[in-house]
C-alpha cells in the first residue's frame, strides 16, 4: 500500500546494533513539500533513521520507501535516479578533499553526462552565489576553508541538481548565529521557488521553530510524537518537557512567537 502523498514512507522499522535496540516499530510519512524535523536526544537514533532513509544502512526489519520505491533492494538504475532527485548535507560537510570547491559542486552535474561544461560552469557559480560564497574561493581546496564555508559549500553541492528532497543532518551546527540565520533564510527562499521537501535532524531550536512544519520526536526507541511544533509541545512527556520547555527552550520558543 503506497500513499501517493508521502514522499518518504517508513513502515514498521526496527533497527538494532548487536543487542542494542535503537528503533522499535517506527512508522512515519513525510509529505511532499513539508519540512520535517527529527528531534531526539543523543543516541536516540536520528542519524540512524536518516541514514536508513538514504539507503546507507539497512534496518533489521521494516520498509523505507522514497518517492514510492523501496530504498533497500531497488535495482541500480532505480536507485541512481532516486539519488539524483535528492540532495544530502552531511553534518561535517563531507566535501571531497581531493577536489576544489568548484569541482566538488560540479561533480554531481558532471555525473549526469547531459550538461555541457559551460552550463556546468554557470550553474556552479550560481550555486556559489546562492550560498553567498565569493567567486574567488571557487578554486580553493576544502582544507583551506573555514567550517562555516565548508557547510555552505556542502549545501551548494547538495543543491547541485536542484533536488526535490533535501536531507539535512544538523544543518546549523558549527555555524555562528548570523550564518545560521542566513542559512534558515536561504532554505525559506528556496522553498518559495521550488517544491522542496526537507528532512532534517537538528538540535537547534531556532532552526526548528523557523523552518519545521512538523516535528518528529524520537525517544525510548520509538516515535514519541509527530505533529506541528505547537502540538508536540502540548504533549506531556519528560523528554519533550526537558527539550522544548527547559530554560533555554522557553526563551527560544518565546523569541519565535510561541506563547507558552
Amino acid at each position: 500500500m503506497t500513499n501517493t502523498d508521502c514522499i518518504i514512507e517508513v513502515e514498521g522499522l526496527h533497527s538494532r546494533f548487536g543487542n542494542h535496540v535503537v528503533h522499535e516499530d517506527i512508522n512515519l510519512c513525510v509529505h511532499r513539500g513539508e519540512v520535517l524535523a527529527l528531534v531526539g536526544s543523543s543516541g536516540s537514533g536520528k542519524t540512524v533513521l536518516l541514514r536508513q532513509m538514504l539507503g546507507l544502512e539497512t534496518p533489521a526489519q521494516g520498509i523505507v520507501r522514497v518517492f514510492g520505491q523501496p530504498v533497500h533492494g531497488a535495482d541500480r538504475n532505480e536507485l541512481q535516479s532516486m539519488r539524483n532527485r535528492w540532495g544530502v548535507l552531511f553534518q561535517k560537510g563531507a566535501l571531497f578533499s581531493a577536489l576544489s570547491v568548484f569541482d566538488n559542486i560540479a561533480l554531481p552535474m558532471r555525473e549526469l553526462h547531459t550538461l555541457d561544461e559551460r552550463m556546468i560552469r554557470d550553474l556552479v557559480m550560481l550555486k556559489l552565489k546562492m550560498v553567498e560564497i565569493e567567486a574567488q574561493h571557487a578554486n580553493k581546496m576544502p582544507a583551506e576553508l573555514s567550517g562555516g564555508m565548508i557547510k555552505r559549500i556542502a549545501l551548494a553541492r547538495a543543491m547541485a541538481l536542484d533536488p526535490e528532497l533535501l536531507f539535512l543532518d544538523e544543518p546549523t551546527s558549527g555555524l555562528d548565529p548570523v550564518l545560521s540565520e542566513g542559512f534558515v533564510k536561504l532554505i525559506q527562499a528556496l522553498r518559495t521557488e521550488l517544491t522542496l521537501t526537507i528532512v532534517m535532524a537538528t538540535h537547534d531550536l531556532d532552526t526548528l521553530a523557523a523552518l519545521a512544519d512538523r516535528v518528529a520526536v524520537l525517544a525510548e526507541q520509538r516515535l514519541l510524537a509527530l505533529g506541528s511544533l505547537r502540538e508536540v509541545i502540548g504533549i506531556s512527556h519528560p523528554f519533550i518537557t526537558n527539550f522544548f520547555l527547559g530554560e533555554r527552550g522557553k526563551k527560544t520558543l518565546g523569541n519565535n512567537g510561541y506563547i507558552l
Binding site: M119, M125, L126, K129, M141, A143, T192
Partner: protein
C-alpha cells in the same frame, strides 16, 4: 510542450513558456531545447512570457539565460519568485581564471624538491634527537615509561607479522635452494648448498626480507594511524593535555619495532633455511641432520650477529620514518594517501641503503 509562439493582443510576437523547466524534467532534451531557445532569442522583438512556467530551477534559468546571451531580453514577463532567480543570475560573477604557470616552473619545482628533501632530513634528525632526550627523561623518571604502548607495538609489529614473514621466507628458501642445487649438481659440489643458503639467508636475505615486509606492513600502518589521528584532531587533544607526541606515540613504536625486528629476522631466516633444507633433501639427498650439523662450520657466528643488528637498526629506522611522515600529514584525505606512500617508499629505500652501508663496513667480518 514547453514553448508556444503566439501573437499577443498588441500584435507583437510572443513566446509562451509552459511546463516544468527543471533539471529532472529536462534532462534528456536539454541540448535540443537549448538550440531551440537560442533560435528564438535571435529575434530581439520577441516577447518572452515566463509566467506560465510551473516550476523553474537553477538549471532551467541558466538554460534560458545562456540562450539570451547572458542578459535579459527587451520584453520579458516574470513572476516575482522568477524575478529573484534571474536577478541572482545577473549578479553571478564569472569563474576566476587561474594565473598561468610561471615559465621558470622546472627550476622552482626542482628547487622545491631539494628543499623538501632537506626538510625531511632535518625533520627525521630532529625527531631522533627528541627521542634521545625522551629516553634521558625516562631514565630519570622510570615510572613514566610507556610499557603498555611498547608491548602493544611489539605484539602488532612482531607477533602478528610471523605468518606473512614465514610464508615469504619459506618460499624464497625453496626457490633459492632449488636453483642453487641445480647448478651445484653440475659441478658435483652438492655439499656447498649449505654454505650458499647459510651465508645468503642469515647474512642478507633474512634481514632484508623481514625489513621490507615490515616496512610495508607496519610502517604504513604507523603512518596511517598518526595521519588519522591528525585528521580527527586526536594529536591536538594529546598536545593540549600536555602529553608529548614523541614520548607517547613515537618512542613506543621505535622501541617496539627495534625489539620486534631482530626477532622477526631470526624467525624469517630460520623458516627460509627450513625451506632450503627441505629442497636440499629432495633434490640432493642431503639429510636434515647433516645440514644442521654442517651449518655452524659453513657460516661463522658473526653473520648471525650481523643479521640481527641489521634488524635492530632497520626496525628503529622504519618506525622513525613512518612516524616522521605520519606526523607531517595534514588533515585531508589526499595528504593521508600521499604521506603513507612516501613513508613506505622511503622506508624501503632507506632499508636497502642501510644494508649497503653494512656490507661496506663489515666487508671482512664473518667471511672466511
Amino acid at each position: 510542450m514547453l514553448l508556444r509562439r503566439v501573437t499577443d493582443e498588441d500584435g507583437a510576437p510572443c513566446l509562451l513558456l509552459t511546463g516544468n523547466y527543471t533539471l529532472a524534467a529536462l534532462e534528456q532534451r536539454l541540448q535540443a531545447l537549448s538550440d531551440e531557445l537560442a533560435g528564438y532569442a535571435a529575434d530581439p522583438g520577441l516577447h518572452w512570457d515566463l509566467t506560465g512556467i510551473e516550476q523553474i530551477d537553477d538549471a532551467g534559468a541558466v538554460l534560458l539565460w545562456r540562450a539570451w546571451g547572458a542578459r535579459r531580453p527587451k520584453h520579458l514577463l516574470l513572476r516575482p519568485e522568477q524575478e529573484r532567480l534571474f536577478s541572482r543570475l545577473g549578479k553571478t560573477p564569472p569563474l576566476p581564471v587561474l594565473p598561468p604557470r610561471d615559465l621558470l616552473w622546472p627550476v622552482t619545482k626542482l628547487g622545491g624538491a631539494v628543499f623538501l628533501l632537506w626538510e625531511h632530513l632535518t625533520g627525521i634528525v630532529i625527531l631522533a634527537g627528541q627521542l634521545l632526550l625522551d629516553m634521558k627523561y625516562l631514565a630519570a623518571h622510570p615510572a613514566r615509561i610507556p610499557w603498555r604502548e611498547i608491548s602493544a607495538n611489539l605484539f602488532r609489529t612482531g607477533a602478528q607479522a610471523l605468518g606473512i614473514t614465514a610464508l615469504v621466507g619459506f618460499l624464497i628458501g625453496v626457490v633459492l635452494s632449488y636453483l642453487s642445487s641445480k647448478q651445484l649438481q653440475m659441478f658435483g659440489a652438492d655439499i656447498f648448498i649449505i654454505n650458499i643458503l647459510g651465508m645468503s639467508i642469515i647474512r642478507e636475505l633474512g634481514p632484508m626480507l623481514a625489513a621490507i615486509l615490515v616496512a610495508g606492513r607496519s610502517g604504513s600502518s604507523m603512518t596511517a594511524q598518526l595521519g588519522v589521528m591528525r585528521v580527527t584532531e586526536e594529536l591536538d587533544a594529546l598536545t593540549v593535555m600536555g602529553i608529548p607526541h614523541s614520548l607517547r606515540l613515537v618512542l613506543p613504536k621505535v622501541i617496539g619495532l627495534g625489539i620486534a625486528m631482530p626477532l622477526v629476522v631470526l624467525w624469517t631466516s630460520a623458516i627460509a633455511l627450513l625451506g632450503g633444507m627441505v629442497v636440499a633433501e629432495l633434490q640432493l639427498g642431503l639429510s636434515y641432520h647433516f645440514f644442521i650439523n654442517k651449518l655452524p662450520d659453513a657460516v661463522p657466528l658473526a653473520n648471525l650477529w650481523l643479521g640481527l643488528s641489521k634488524g635492530v637498526v632497520c626496525g628503529m629506522i622504519i618506525a622513525l620514518i613512518a612516524c616522521h611522515f605520519g606526523l607531517r600529514i595534514k588533515s585531508d584525505t589526499e595528504s593521508l594517501g600521499a604521506g603513507t606512500t612516501s613513508s613506505v617508499v622511503t622506508a624501503i629505500t632507506v632499508v636497502i641503503i642501510i644494508d649497503a652501508i653494512f656490507a661496506v663496513i663489515f666487508s671482512d667480518v664473518g667471511i672466511k
